[in-house]
Symmetry: C2
Subunit: 212 residues, 2 copies
Amino acid sequence: MEEKEISQTVVGRLPRYFRYLGELKDEGIERVSSQELSDIMQVTASQIRQDLNNFGGFGQQGYGYNVGFLYDEIGKILGLHREHNLIIVGAGHLGQALVNYTNFERRGFLFRGIFDKDPQVCGQKIRGITVRPMNEMEAFVQENDIDIAVLAIPKTSAVEVAEQLVCCGIKGIWNFAHVDLRVPERIQVENVHLSDSLMKLSYNLSSREDEE
Amino acid sequence: MEEKEISQTVVGRLPRYFRYLGELKDEGIERVSSQELSDIMQVTASQIRQDLNNFGGFGQQGYGYNVGFLYDEIGKILGLHREHNLIIVGAGHLGQALVNYTNFERRGFLFRGIFDKDPQVCGQKIRGITVRPMNEMEAFVQENDIDIAVLAIPKTSAVEVAEQLVCCGIKGIWNFAHVDLRVPERIQVENVHLSDSLMKLSYNLSSREDEE
DNA sequence: CAGTCGCTGTCAATTCATTGACATAATTTT
DNA sequence: AAAATTATGTCAATGAATTGACAGCGACTG
């Protein structure tokens, strides 16, 4: 399929559409117009139509969009119709928090393994999943068809671990470590830099005060 | 001070500059040009100069930027020269993970209290901080000069808690709950929507496959 | 100490994103 | 069944962000 590249700006808005459509669906609402969605979501109706049209004409003139249908379609676009096998690297507090957050599983993101370099932690079970030593990671990824690795480790080891993951054929990395990973272009990296986020909040707090 | 509004796009890049400058500083490097930074950070030199110039002329022609000075200045811009008092609402896995992440404290973000609605959890200590019941929250915020509240609770209760926080004079909310909070404009909200981030990664994995 | 070079700050050009406008088509009303 | 209404898909216009270009200042060199 020769499709035009969708900008990350647009992609970043899809999950939010998906969430609101899910809520409408749960409320039993069957149809919605871009104008109604616009009111609920606080974005322009024009942007909604523009965004959706990147992926095809999901609506119908004079009617609007069918909530259930659009919800499913966006789900497919986001790749939620298939299952993803994940591992978590780092069984610290953050790693554990992620494993215990069951909403990911509900969306098809299945935690298949947890790895940690601390021998004390290895062997323990977190939500039924045994923590394994790092040296078993590469084989595990290959044998269990893992496509996403979650890096919940300090930045000091993140670069090295990322390299190992690249070598054993990982497709995507969800990176919670506070470094920028340099990986081949074929591998997708999604960063969650919590301290950056907190600093942004801090900036906005300060700048608001200055205005007064 | 009558200063022009800085776009969130630019603000969002500041923490990254801050991080790289910190690393250079730790390596003992004293000066850096926008071109050198450009090579390290993989952004255009033009963008770096443009971004920094929003806040003033930190560099010197023919010399470049003094690493230590620029680091400190960006720190101040981000509001890191002062301390922030935070509370965490929700003592679940995520809340605990955040409390235990000591890097925030090092930057002046001090966790002063933890709150949870579960009576079983109240009274327990996490890294020396006692978990308190929700009904004590409002008074605590006011008495302890809390400016930031971290919402690490399910979306079902997030909206209600946010309203309480607004009432007792919170200035900023770091929101990990999967809802959009509607708060007065004077209150800053920074969202960390983990599932949105994961869906974005999922999209990029799928779209990459389609290309092949 | 004069000349060369390096690098910023800034303006202009370009690219990208958002908003507005409307022709057209399906739906609902009468 | 015709008329009126609704709301999409898309094109054009506007606005924002990024990149490119360079004048001019300061630093370094011989």
